[in-house]
């Protein structure tokens, strides 16, 4: 189609550039969070994440080796060492010996130390302190440097957020809680809906059209209406707040879409197969299990992805039906909202926690995109 009318080629570049801009706009925010989760708190606070892949000029406060390492060189006492480990990746431009004038000296110059003696720092970060008397004290003096530091990424944030048992704000427990909510809340509605969808698609009974219409209507009923009535109901029958309640709630809220998607798909299956099976004496239950379910796999997969994403990403239903005052059953979304309140400025924690919760849905998304798109089309274009 591109070459039907020859003058279109002029537009092709414009199209490419527009798409690049669109994609960049859509990817950049997520990329920012992703990059930030691999940076230290200092790096995040002092430079934008987009500067992470480039060397940066930083003002650093470092400490020379302790006086006990001093050696004699003729009549001088000497302490030598490297400020950076490994040496050579960093280039120092200025240094200083007091916090009031951290950039007072150029590399190679000799600076007087406050407690006597002199120090010099070269561009690679090698320092040499000399004194006519022995250095005293327990710790070495501070040295302030302005240095060009290569880009650096760290996994420490993930270690802290996921694997540090002492970290009460960690995500490990919330991760498993989310998983505990998600899997039954995805599987149970599929089973229930599949049977109902088959009845609505292939069995004749009075009131069928009415029921289908009701399902379509319930598709858009906001679940906000269900919060108080159902919480009261759960308390009354003794479930209270907990996993069972949240599983039931997700099942109820997911059913209309499940039935709708599966029925639309099953109606499209070839009539011959089902009629032949009936003629051959198969029972409805056998037809359903042996023929309909295997054939409906794409639709089942579509809905499973929807429900998985929805339950994994949900906050409201978990807040109302699951998380009690002890907070033992907190899910990741709730944990992140809490961190937003208490750790609003600690981007290394926030970014890492958020990315931990985003990672699984993104994996599912990229692995099963085909089914997701198919489900969307079946659910909306009809």
């Amino acid at each position: 189609m591109d070459n039907i009318a020859g003058r279109k080629s002029g537009l092709v570049w414009a199209v490419h550039i527009s798409v690049v801009v669109l994609v960049a706009l859509w990817v950049f925010p997520t990329l920012g969070l992703f990059v930030s989760s691999f940076r230290t708190a200092d790096q995040i606070a002092t430079s934008g994440w987009w500067k992470a892949p480039f060397p940066s000029v930083q003002n650093l406060t470092l400490r020379a080796a302790a006086p006990e390492t001093q050696t004699r060189d003729g009549d001088l006492y000497v302490i030598e060492g490297d400020l950076f480990d490994p040496a050579g990746t960093v280039s120092v431009s200025r240094f200083g010996v007091s916090s009031r004038a951290p950039t007072a000296f150029g590399v190679g110059e000799s600076a007087p130390l406050r407690k006597g003696g002199r120090v010099t720092v070269d561009a690679a970060g090698h320092y040499r302190m000399t004194n006519t008397e022995p250095f005293s004290g327990r710790r070495g003096p501070r040295i302030f440097v302005t240095a060009r530091v290569p880009p650096e990424f760290t996994l420490a944030n993930y270690r802290n957020v996921l694997f540090d048992p002492a970290n009460r704000e960690g995500m490990a427990k919330a991760f498993f809680n989310t998983l505990t909510v998600t899997i039954p809340a995805t599987v149970i509605p599929i089973v229930i809906a599949a049977f109902a969808a088959y009845a609505l698609a292939w069995m004749a009974f009075p009131g069928r059209a009415l029921l289908i219409a009701a399902v379509v209507g319930l598709l858009v009923v906001p679940l906000q209406l269900a919060l108080i009535p159902l919480l009261t109901f759960h308390n009354k029958i003794g479930i209270g707040k907990g996993y069972l309640g949240v599983w039931l709630a997700h099942t109820g809220f997911g059913l209309p879409l499940a039935i709708y998607l599966l029925r639309n798909y099953m109606v499209g299956l070839p009539r011959d197969i089902i009629e032949n099976a009936r003629v051959d004496g198969a029972s409805e239950f056998q037809i359903f299990v042996r023929i309909i379910l295997p054939l409906s796999f794409p639709a089942l997969a579509s809905f499973a992805i929807f429900q998985f994403l929805w339950t994994w990403n949900d906050l409201l239903v978990a807040l109302v039906f699951l998380i009690d005052s002890t907070g033992d059953t907190t899910v990741m979304t709730k944990q992140i909202v809490e961190l937003l309140g208490t750790r609003g400025g600690n981007w290394e924690i926030l970014a890492t926690s958020a990315f931990v919760s985003i990672a699984v849905p993104l994996l599912v998304f990229f692995a099963m995109q085909k089914y997701l798109v198919r489900g969307l089309l079946a659910g909306s274009v009809k």
Binding site: V15, V23, F176, F233, G252, V373
Partner: protein, 334 residues
């Protein structure tokens, strides 16, 4: 019990229970109740076939009735009554609604919700249409589509964190680490705390939802665009239409039905929008929306009456779409 173990047991019981129910109830029907043999075989088969659909439907009907239909009526009742201190409730007529209508916070939520309703579906659909049209014409279009579609998989809370980083503000003397302020400063402006500027901050929150929903609109509209018959486009080009005319005069009118579907679907998402506001501003600085207002009333103020009234307002706003959907579905089935 360990939650992981509990989850496994629940899946086993839940799934096993469901399958067991369906299997056993069917067996009972065929083997005990109406045996398709003997003198009454024909009558029995007919009766069994009358009952069987309801066996298949029963769990779904119970769940739908209890978790979606019953709450609508119960919420309506709650919105017309008041909780009494000792438990129980008393009928108060429209008092809750009257009280709600008198609150400035409610009107703020209404105003904001109306802006969300106008702007988010419009921009999501427009960007989605643009992205669909552009990516359909290039070789790496599928990769581009994937990337624009990706935010669909991200939770509203995750998106809130992502965008808070974009909107982050540092004092003037420091380097800005939020992209938006960095751009503003690079262009010679002053950094702003975007989320606290009344009125305009609503648009910064809407941007998050537009970012999420554009992918959805793009996927649906892209399929619709591909379904347009080639002949109509070829005819237009032969007649000398330029690409813009082809797009707006030929393509858009042919997919108008799909555009409406996308628009209404996003409208419903917007009406329920809660997490984004809850996580980013919690309704402060005049960014309240109905769903968050309702949550505030129900679970912070403990005022079930007014909270339920707010929920009924959301229901009322959804109702036209509900009716329209049902009407369309019925028309299709005839």
């Amino acid at each position: 019990m360990n939650p992981a173990l509990q989850a496994v047991v629940t899946i086993a019981i839940g799934v096993g229970g469901c399958v067991g129910y369906f299997y056993l109830s069917n067996q009972f029907l065929d083997k005990v109740l109406f045996v398709p043999r003997g003198p009454n075989a024909g009558r029995n088969i007919n009766r069994a076939e009358m009952i069987r659909p309801w066996l298949f439907l029963l769990p779904a009907l119970v769940a739908l009735g209890l978790y979606l239909a019953y709450p609508v009526f119960e919420t309506l009742r709650l919105s017309l009554s008041e909780r009494l201190p000792g438990g129980g409730s008393a009928w108060v007529g429209l008092d809750n609604y009257r009280q709600m209508l008198g609150e400035p916070k409610f009107w703020e939520a209404m105003r904001n919700n109306m802006m969300w309703l106008l702007i988010v579906p419009a921009f999501s659909t427009a960007f989605g249409l643009l992205a669909a049209q552009l990516t359909d014409r290039i070789r790496w279009g599928n990769i581009a589509k994937s990337l624009i579609f990706m935010p669909m998989a991200i939770s509203f809370v995750g998106a809130a964190v992502i965008w808070k980083l974009v909107y982050d503000t540092r004092p003037v003397a420091q380097e800005q680490i939020g992209v938006l302020n960095a751009i503003v400063v690079a262009l010679g402006g002053q950094p702003h705390t975007w989320l606290t500027i009344p009125f305009w901050n609503n648009f910064f929150l809407m941007a998050v939802l537009i970012w999420i929903q554009t992918g959805f609109a793009m996927v649906i509209l892209s399929a619709a665009l591909r379904g347009i018959p080639e002949e109509t486009i070829e005819a237009a080009i032969v007649d000398g239409a330029n690409p813009f005319q082809v797009f707006f005069r030929i393509k858009v009118p042919q997919i108008s039905g799909t555009i409406v579907v996308v628009w209404t679907t996003i409208t419903i998402v917007v009406l329920k929008v809660f997490d984004i506001v809850f996580a980013m501003t919690n309704g402060q600085w005049q960014t309240q929306v109905l769903a968050n207002y309702m949550y505030d009333k129900l679970f912070r103020a403990g005022d079930w009456g007014v909270g339920s009234a707010a929920a009924m307002v959301i229901m009322l706003l959804v109702t036209p779409i509900l009716v329209w959907n049902v009407w369309n579905a019925r028309k299709e089935m005839k």
